[in-house]
Subunit: 104 residues, 2 copies
């Protein structure tokens, strides 16, 4: 049996505002997080189309995970991504909704 390897994530206490803002400042990553929030459920990798190639996508996914914006959980050969809304809302009340609600 193949053991799927868990990816490293910062704990809630380890999340830093500068890293979160940097992660969300990129248009592609912001588009992804906005869609993830709209769906309201964890999604498999690739379920949200992005205008970038696979290696760039992988990079963006890592930046979001390492900043503590998303949680990624391997399930067989897939990776399931969830928005860490509860953590971000607890740390920075109002910030995420203010950002994701932005018209521009």
């Amino acid at each position: 049996m193949t053991q799927t390897k868990e990816l490293p994530h910062p704990t809630r206490e380890e999340i830093r505002i500068e890293a979160v803002l940097h992660a969300l400042a990129d248009p592609v990553r912001l588009q992804f997080v906005r869609e993830l929030n709209r769906l309201g459920i964890p999604v498999a990798c690739g379920a949200i189309p992005l205008p970038v190639n696979k290696s760039t996508r992988t990079h963006h996914m890592r930046v979001l995970r390492e900043a503590g914006v998303t949680h990624v959980h391997p399930e067989g050969t897939a990776r399931i991504t969830a928005l860490r809304k509860e953590d971000l809302d607890a740390l920075y009340p109002g910030m995420l909704d203010g950002i994701l609600g932005a018209k521009r």
Copy 2:
């Protein structure tokens, strides 16, 4: 009489969330904005000490102004900087308080 030249600023409509987040993602700029918000009044350039040299400081000030985070107004030889809290609160309700209230 010397005419002090006004610096360019984005209008409220021209402000973009990606630029605001990028501006605030830098630790030095975030420290400056946090202090500006705490003081609650426009301040002269240099009134808020920052751990950078003058040219780096000038760069940070320009990033904040061009993103629409601050408004800079020349007054004689000084430059008075104000936080555009009203604009940011109108565009992204809750975001600024969520970010500036961050403990880490």
